[in-house]
Amino acid sequence: MKFWSYFRDHTGCAETALELAKGTTLGETHAAVLDEFPKLAGSKNSTLKAVGLEYEDDDFVLSDGDEVSFFPPVQGG
């Protein structure tokens, strides 16, 4: 799991690993992350979630080795 931009300041780390039960969704993973890093709770609804290089919905089912990214709204330009 990777955190980007000021999410990294809130978690204190750029990445971490998480053991998940088979069939865990991206949304469930996000909930687990919010439990572990309560400072991210304020950004809950604006958090963007990607698996690998693609944005995915909360019901996306994760597989072994998936790299999940959580980050705030993007600001390119």
Binding site: A50, L53, F71, V74, Q75, G76
Partner: protein
């Protein structure tokens, strides 16, 4: 459609980019957009913006945007440069060029690329206060 994407910490040299443009003989319109760092971010004066990217994902998301351009307009080429790291006030952080047969599609495609980028490409900015 030709595409050229540069994501790097190097300064954007618009004159050099203009010089190395290659355009087919059926093309009638070129739009270049430069997004420049302003001295005010929110309400506070700044000296620069520090840009960070999830670079691999950014490249992939730009590629998806370019694919969508190709499907929507008869555009010949899109070149895009996004600078990362510390970009001082008054220097460009973004440069987008679209070449197309006619003006309307060049304007539309250029604005589409920027609009989509601002929704989807994982780049973030941290203002550096004055």
């Amino acid at each position: 459609m030709k595409t050229e994407l540069t994501i790097s910490t190097g300064a954007i040299d618009e004159a050099a980019l203009a010089k190395c443009r290659e355009m087919g003989k059926g093309m009638g319109a070129v739009i270049c957009f430069s997004g420049v760092v302003r001295e005010i971010e929110g309400d506070a004066p700044i000296t620069a913006i520090d840009y960070e990217a999830h670079e691999q994902m950014a490249r992939h998301q730009f590629a998806l945007i370019f694919d969508a351009v190709e499907k929507s307009w008869p555009v010949e080429s899109v070149r895009l440069v996004h600078r990362l790291g510390v970009v001082p006030v008054n220097e460009p952080s973004l440069w987008v060029e679209v070449t197309a047969p006619h003006r309307a599609e060049a304007f539309d495609a250029c604005q589409f690329v920027i609009d989509e980028m601002k929704q989807k490409v994982p780049i973030w900015k941290k203002p550096i206060p004055a």
